[in-house]
C-alpha cells in the first residue's frame, strides 16, 4: 500500500466476501429444488432463490470491482483518493440497495427480468452510487493526470458498465425489444465492460507481483481488451438468433463469438509468460494461484464452454437448457469470481500490514473451489446434454426429461457442496489469515 486512502477498498472486500458466502447458500437451495419436492414452495419458491442467488453474485462482484478500483487508483495516480467520504457514503448506498433488493425478493416483489430484478427505485439508488463512484475516481485521476493504460482501461470499463446498466431500467411493451436491450446490459457487461475491468485489474496485479516492465504489460493489455471488444461487441449477436431478431445474426453472432475465445487464450499465455519471466520473488502465492488458475478457468469456462454452444447450428438445440447454466457458472466463476479473489488476496496483506503469514489454508481453498466448480460445470453440462437430446431432439416432455437428468443434478449438488466447503475455508481465511497465532 502506497497511499492511506487505499484502505477505502477494505469494506468493499469485506461485504463482497460475506455476500459471496450468502450466495452459495441460495445456490445450494436452488439446486436442491431440482432434486427433491420443494418444502419451501410457499416460503422461498425457486424464482426467489434464483433471483437472490444471481443478484448476490452481481452485487459481490461489483463490490469487488469497486474495492479493487479504489485500491488501484491512488497507487496508479500517485495521489490520495479525491474523497474518502464519498467512497464510504457510496459503499453504504450500494449495500443498502443490495440488501433492500434481496428483502424485496423475499417479500415477493420483483421487476421480473433475470439479473435485473431490482425494483426500479433501488436501481435508481444504484445509479446514484455508481455516479458518485465515477465522480470520485475521475476526480482522483485528474488530480495528477497520470492516464496510465491500466487506469484508462479500468475507467473505460467502469463508464461502459454504468452506461449499459441504463438499458436495463426502462419497461418496454414489446418483450422481444426488451430482451434485445437486456442483452446490452448482460452481454456487454460480461463480454465487454467487465472484461476491461478484469483485464486492467489483472494487469495491475501482474505488474506488482512479477515486476515485469510496465510498457510490456500495458501493451498486452491493449491487445487483449482490444480483441475482446472487437469480437465481443458484435458477438452480442449470438443472443439474437431466436428472440424475434433477423436471421442475419446467425452470421454476425456466429463468426464473431466463435473468435471470442482468442483474446482469452492470449490472456492465459500472457499471464503465464509474465509469471515465467518475473523479476521479483513472488511472495503472495495465493494471489498468484488465483491469477494463473483464474486465467485458465476464464478460458475454459467462458472461452471453451461458450464456444461449445455459440454456433447457431448447435444453439438451436441447446438454447435455454442446462448447457447455458453450465457455461454461466463456469464463466462467471472463471472470469470474475477468481479475479476478485485474486485482488482480495493480493491486497489483503497490504491492507492489514502483514509481512509474512501462512498461506497454506488459502491455497487449499483455491484447489477445493477449483475442483468443486469444475465438477459442477461438468455435471450441469451432462444434464444439459441429456436435456437437449431427450427434450429438444426426441421430444419427451420437459418434466419427464428432468427426471432423467436427476442423477446429474445430484452430482452437481455434491460438487456445489465441495465448492462451498472451499469457499467457506476461504472466508475463514479472509478473516483469520495473518492474525495473531496464525503467522509462521
Amino acid at each position: 500500500m502506497t497511499h492511506a486512502t487505499q484502505r477505502e477498498a477494505y469494506p468493499y472486500f469485506v461485504l463482497a466476501v460475506l455476500l459471496f458466502g450468502l450466495q452459495l447458500i441460495f445456490g445450494i437451495l436452488t439446486i436442491a429444488k431440482y432434486i427433491w419436492p420443494d418444502p419451501l414452495l410457499y416460503v422461498l419458491p425457486f424464482n426467489q432463490s434464483r433471483a437472490i442467488h444471481i443478484n448476490l453474485l452481481v452485487f459481490w462482484l461489483l463490490l469487488g470491482f469497486m474495492g479493487g478500483t479504489y485500491y488501484m487508483i491512488p497507487e496508479e495516480s500517485e495521489t490520495e483518493l479525491f474523497s474518502p467520504l464519498i467512497a464510504r457514503i457510496q459503499f453504504w448506498l450500494i449495500a443498502a440497495a443490495g440488501v433492500a433488493s434481496i428483502v424485496s425478493y423475499l417479500l415477493g416483489y420483483s421487476w421480473g427480468m433475470p439479473f435485473l430484478e431490482q425494483p426500479t427505485a433501488f436501481k435508481a439508488v444504484i445509479v446514484v452510487a455508481a455516479l458518485m463512484f465515477l465522480y470520485n475516481v475521475f476526480r482522483t485521476v485528474l488530480k495528477t493526470g497520470k492516464w496510465t493504460a491500466i487506469q484508462g482501461v479500468l475507467l473505460g470499463g467502469m463508464v461502459f458498465l454504468a452506461v449499459m446498466f441504463l438499458f436495463g431500467i426502462v419497461f418496454m411493451k414489446n418483450l422481444a425489444t426488451q430482451y434485445f436491450f437486456w442483452w446490452w446490459v448482460i452481454h456487454l457487461w460480461v463480454e465487454g465492460a467487465w472484461e476491461l475491468i478484469a483485464g486492467a485489474i489483472l494487469a495491475f496485479v501482474l505488474l506488482k507481483l512479477t515486476g515485469i516492465d510496465r510498457p510490456i504489460i500495458e501493451k498486452w493489455l491493449y491487445i487483449e481488451v482490444g480483441l475482446v471488444l472487437f469480437t465481443g461487441i458484435v458477438g452480442t449477436g449470438h443472443h439474437y438468433y431466436w428472440i424475434g431478431t433477423p436471421a442475419y445474426w446467425y452470421w454476425w453472432g456466429g463468426i464473431f463469438s466463435a473468435l471470442e475465445p482468442l483474446p482469452i487464450l492470449f490472456m492465459v499465455l500472457d499471464t503465464m509468460r509474465h509469471v515465467r519471466e518475473k523479476k521479483l520473488v513472488i511472495k503472495n502465492r495465493v494471489a498468484l494461484h488465483w491469477a494463473v488458475g483464474g486465467a485458465w478457468f476464464h478460458f475454459v469456462g467462458a472461452g471453451v464452454w461458450g464456444f461449445g454452444h455459440t454456433l447457431p447450428q448447435i444453439n438451436v438445440w441447446t438454447h435455454g437448457t442446462q448447457i447455458t447454466a453450465a457455461h454461466g457458472h463456469m464463466a462467471f466463476f472463471g472470469a470474475y469470481a477468481t479475479l476478485n479473489l485474486m485482488m482480495i488476496y493480493f491486497t489483503l496483506p497490504k491492507l492489514r500490514g502483514w509481512e509474512d503469514y501462512s498461506q497454506s489454508r488459502g491455497i487449499a481453498a483455491f484447489w477445493i473451489m477449483i475442483s468443486g466448480m469444475l465438477l459442477m460445470g461438468l455435471a450441469l453440462t451432462v444434464s444439459g446434454i441429456v436435456q437437449t437430446y431427450f427434450n429438444r431432439i426426441i421430444g419427451i416432455d420437459f418434466l419427464t426429461t428432468q427426471e432423467y437428468m436427476r442423477l446429474w443434478f445430484e452430482v452437481a449438488l455434491a460438487s456445489a457442496a465441495l465448492f462451498a466447503a472451499g469457499a467457506y475455508i476461504f472466508i475463514y481465511d479472509f478473516f483469520k489469515a495473518g492474525r495473531a497465532g496464525a503467522r509462521t
Binding site: F46, N47, P114, L175, I223, G226, W249, G320, I394, I396
Partner: protein, 234 residues
C-alpha cells in the same frame, strides 16, 4: 509496434466495431415490429407483460429461451395449449396439472390471468426463426394423421395424443411421462370406447381419486378418435 500505435488500433477498432454493431442493431429494431406483430400488441398484452414481470415468472420459466431453467419454456406454449386451458392452469396449477415439480398457486386476479394468457398468445406468434425446432416425436405425429385422415377410425389418435400433451404424463411403449399410468396396454384394461370417452371428459367419473385434468372441451370427433386409438392399444 509502439504502445501509442497499439492504443490507437484499440480505440479505432473499438469505435469501428461499435458502429457496426449499432448499425446492425438499428436495422434489427427496424425489422422487429413486423417480426413480432407489434400491430397486435394490445393494451391487454402489455398488461400481461406487466403481470409476467410482477410475478417474476421468468426466474422459473424461460421465455424466448432466456430465464430460469426450472420449468418449461413459455415462448410457444399458446400453440399447444388453448386460452381456456392456460387460464384454468394459471388459477390452479396443481389442480390442472399435478406434477412432482410444483408451481405455486399465485395470488393472481382473474384480470391478470386473462392478461397473461393474451401475452402468451402474442409471444407465441413472434417470428423466432423457427426456434424451438420441432422434435422428432412431435414432427412425426401429424404425419401419421395426414396420411390416413378420416379413413381409418382412430388414425388421428396419435396426433391428438401428442397435441393434447398426454405424453407429458403417460407413457406408450416406453416414451412419455411417469405421472399417470402407462397406457401401452390401456385397451386391454378399458376396452369400452364409450367408457374411454367418459373418462376423457371427466376422469373422476371412472376413477374418483384421479388427478388427471378433464378434457371435456375436446370436440366430439376428437374424443371419438382419441378413444378409438386408446382402445386399440392392447
Amino acid at each position: 509496434m509502439t504502445q501509442a500505435s497499439i492504443r490507437n488500433i484499440f480505440i479505432g477498432g473499438t469505435v469501428f466495431f461499435s458502429l457496426l454493431f449499432l448499425y446492425l442493431s438499428y436495422d434489427s429494431l427496424r425489422q422487429m415490429p413486423l417480426r413480432t406483430n407489434e400491430a397486435t400488441l394490445t393494451p391487454q398484452v402489455v398488461a400481461g407483460k406487466h403481470a409476467w414481470q410482477k410475478y417474476n415468472c421468468n426466474d422459473c420459466h424461460t421465455i424466448l429461451g432466456i430465464g430460469g431453467y426450472y420449468a418449461p419454456d413459455i415462448t410457444k406454449v399458446a400453440t399447444y395449449r388453448d386460452a381456456d386451458w392456460l387460464g384454468r392452469f394459471l388459477k390452479d396449477p396443481e389442480g390442472v396439472w399435478a406434477a412432482k415439480r410444483r408451481m405455486p398457486k399465485l395470488p393472481m386476479s382473474d384480470a391478470e390471468v386473462g392478461d397473461l394468457v393474451a401475452f402468451m398468445g402474442w409471444v407465441s406468434k413472434i417470428d423466432t426463426n423457427d426456434w424451438p425446432r420441432k422434435p422428432m416425436l412431435a414432427a412425426g405425429a401429424p404425419a401419421v394423421s395426414s396420411q390416413a385422415q378420416g379413413r381409418v377410425p382412430g388414425s388421428e389418435g396419435p396426433m391428438l395424443f401428442a397435441r393434447n400433451g398426454c405424453q407429458g404424463c403417460h407413457k406408450i411403449n416406453g416414451v412419455g411421462g411417469a405421472i399417470g399410468p402407462d397406457l401401452t396396454h390401456v385397451g386391454s384394461r378399458l376396452p369400452d370406447k364409450q367408457a374411454q370417452i367418459s373418462h376423457l371428459r371427466d376422469p373422476r367419473s371412472i376413477h374418483p381419486q384421479s388427478s388427471m385434468p378433464a378434457f371435456g372441451k375436446m370436440s366430439e370427433h376428437d374424443l371419438e378418435e382419441l378413444a378409438e386409438y386408446l382402445v386399440s392399444l392392447k
